[in-house]
Subunit: 231 residues, 2 copies
Amino acid sequence: MDAVVFDVFGTVVDWRTGVAREFERAGTRAGVQADWLGLATAWRSRYAPTLLRVVSGEVPWRSLDELHRMMLDDVLTEHGLTGFTDTDRAELVSAWHRLSPWPDSRDGLSRLRETHITATLSNGSIALLIHLARVGGLPFDAILSAELIHSYKPDPKVYLMAGDLLEVPAPRLLMTACHLEDLRAAADVGLRTAYIPRPLEWGPGHPAAPAPDWVDLIATDIPDLARRLAP
Amino acid sequence: MDAVVFDVFGTVVDWRTGVAREFERAGTRAGVQADWLGLATAWRSRYAPTLLRVVSGEVPWRSLDELHRMMLDDVLTEHGLTGFTDTDRAELVSAWHRLSPWPDSRDGLSRLRETHITATLSNGSIALLIHLARVGGLPFDAILSAELIHSYKPDPKVYLMAGDLLEVPAPRLLMTACHLEDLRAAADVGLRTAYIPRPLEWGPGHPAAPAPDWVDLIATDIPDLARRLAP
């Protein structure tokens, strides 16, 4: 393997806890009580269908921040939470720029980078990913984002772009994610795939899916991935 | 200033010594004697006019590796150096992926990154820049390249792309280079400019140009730039 690219939300950083915490903070400011973890989940559950509408061409490309804002407005309206100001909402959208990594991410990426080129391959914007890497001290060699071609995963063009920019043929490029749709789309255009079934990604009481047989590699966390890929 | 983007060849890494050394190595293998520093200079002197022909649309976009190879073939033919094999030439093209940084670059970038977002903004490809950053231990937050829009500096679109991807307005974005054409083009689209007049960039006996009055900042090296930008 020449290079390893990473999904970020859920695979490298813990969006659920981070977003719920910022929801609670904004709610306290706005004098609102709610199920913050549930709201974080409701927000995130709009993510995949919204991005698919962009990929299909049904709606025009917009930055993830803009899409996050639209989804947030819908979620708040749906839950009757009209007390959040424009500033609160902007703050919540920027919460996705400040998420903490899973405890193993920084160390695992450092080790992996000793032997492999590493990069993000995320639907977050380049600026958002830079912010996350700085907040979490995540040592990627490069920040790659679907933004670079104004699309979103699982558009096959996103995975092919990564191989093109890294100058690595698809079979020498490993897509790493905790989401099987992401890996399936990467595999469909010839990339190798590593599945890290993050146990907390799906929320309390929702274990990660078992690894399907088409996945090339399964790792418990990023240090485990680094060990498995060590020359 | 929110972010600082860097020209790389000449500003962060020493292309002249590195390319001359690899020329000498390839020449020794091929049993050829020549003025290797002169050849490195002759190769590089074709760079700006070649890229300008791409920017003007006169010739279609090709990767810098491909353009380097075309320029190299021309230079070798011109100097009657036909003894270099295809492998030698490919090796020489890849020499641009292995250049050493100036002695201050690594430390300066580390310091600057504590207070500012830092990125490359180079005509080298993303893959080439990743290789240089890994070889030299250069801690950029992101690797940006003119390749991302299939153009080359001094195309104004390249500088605007950097602001767009970093989500930083042009007046909060500092372009750093040892070449005044690069800075002039950045200034023309509203970026701030920092001039580092690298004394060895122009070869023995050719001092760097004095700083013109339109440059926003002059620094002797990257640590000096970090000091001047420290909050």
